[in-house]
């Protein structure tokens, strides 16, 4: 059969294909990317002709959706590519169907122009619930935004306007509280109990147990993730994962990759978000991004003076019986970040 699961015995031709079509990273990178998921289900499929030529690939980042006390298997598909031209026709669809059969709910974020054109023809739907929110925190970043909206003759005044705007915007230190953020290198296995408690409190939430969080962030080579436990009087109630990196425009982007807290404790959520912003600002971020997908996280972002920027559409097809609509899922950057490298 030409469709084969990605495994330890996968030939170099598959990794050569990924290097040529996706990005020249080498076998070690691809094995690392797909190899550490602790899954029984395959983490990818490829199409191999009888003469050994590889015509296509689809990668899977497995996760679980927790809702109403049940766990539904799901997977994000990534690195979906076929050889260009006639030989690749139909191969991509075949791989997509194989991937669908290997998991409960198959999902993807945004997608390339080809993906966006093909998926609706196959009956896939889009959820627009996840949205990017941004908080500018430096005069430099505010000035650039102001200049973009100004007529050319006014642009020399943009830096001064940015300094003035900075006075009113930007992150502020959190007021003193019983709460604390404690740095860690990895999530301890004992964090599983905290995660289980939080999973039961959110209507529907993607997997965030310690094994998964470590796979996504702690074990990510040079990922630059800042892992912290969110505590009240020494008791761990959730976590914060954040990172500062550069964007294409030369600004330093602070990212609140993931925040988990008891959703009923709004004061704790607000404190954690504000503290995260303050930390990122001190770490040199020009602006801070987060993804909010539910009214609760959106309200917290608005209260912290973030501004809604753009939706991050999720594509999905068939959902397992009893699985809630993706419109209700608590989603952040975390669910897809590893997939983009």
């Amino acid at each position: 059969m030409p469709i084969r699961p990605l495994d330890l015995h996968t030939s170099d031709a598959v990794f050569d294909f990924l290097d040529a079509i996706v990005s020249r990273r080498g076998r070690t990178h691809w094995e690392w990317k797909y190899g550490g998921q602790h899954q029984k289900a395959p983490c990818g499929f490829y199409w191999e002709e009888s003469d050994g030529r590889v015509l296509g690939f689809i990668g899977l980042m497995h996760t679980d959706l927790h809702a109403a006390g049940k766990r539904h298997p799901a997977a994000w598909f990534v690195d979906w590519h076929v050889v260009p031209g006639e030989r690749g026709i139909g191969v991509g669809l075949g791989l997509l169907r194989k991937a669908e059969a290997a998991t409960g709910a198959l999902l993807t974020l945004q997608g390339s122009a080809d993906t966006q054109s093909i998926l609706p023809r196959l009956g896939w739907k889009r959820s627009f619930s996840p949205e990017t929110w941004t908080l500018p925190v430096t005069a430099r970043f505010l000035s650039a935004g102001i200049a973009e909206r100004m007529p050319t003759w006014l642009r020399p005044f943009a830096p001064a306007a940015g300094v003035a705007a900075r006075y009113f915007r930007g992150a502020q230190p959190s007021p003193r509280a019983d709460f604390a953020l404690v740095d860690i290198q990895r999530f301890p296995l004992s964090y599983d109990a905290v995660w289980e408690a939080r999973a039961a409190e959110f209507a529907s939430i993607m997997r965030r147990d310690p094994t998964y969080l470590n796979y996504l962030c702690a074990d990510y080579p040079d990922g630059g993730y800042h892992l912290q436990l969110l505590q009240r009087r020494g008791q761990t109630l959730g976590h914060l994962i954040s990172r500062v990196d550069g964007d294409r425009r030369g600004f330093r982007r602070g990212r609140i990759v993931d925040l988990l807290w008891p959703p009923a404790d709004r004061a704790l959520g607000a404190w954690a978000l504000r503290s995260a912003c303050w930390q990122l600002q001190l770490a040199g971020a020009d602006y801070i991004d987060l993804v909010a997908s539910t009214p609760l996280s959106g309200e917290l972002a608005r209260d912290a003076r973030f501004r809604r920027r753009t939706p991050v559409p999720i594509w999905y097809h068939r959902l397992v019986a009893g699985s809630p609509s993706p419109d209700t899922w608590h989603i952040t950057f975390l669910d897809c970040d590893r997939a983009y490298r």
Binding site: M1, I3, W47, E86, I89, G90, L93, G94, R97, A101
Partner: protein
Amino acid sequence: MNDDRQGIRRGIVEVVGAVFGLVPESVESGVSPASVENWNSEKHVELVVALEERFGCMFDAEEVPELTSLEQMEAIIRRHA
């Protein structure tokens, strides 16, 4: 049996003609991605979905790229009949 076969072939010709904007005579003379100018990945997806709707079947993942000639379409659809 012959009626069945003719019915399947006629249905395929109609679907292929509708997807690629071809007259039946042109389809019957033989089609392939090489001979039909706009037969690309997106059009192939349309073709697969249209054939599945027409014949009430769902092709296996590995059959999808094989649907590139009238003969192969007919053989695969007959497997699902």
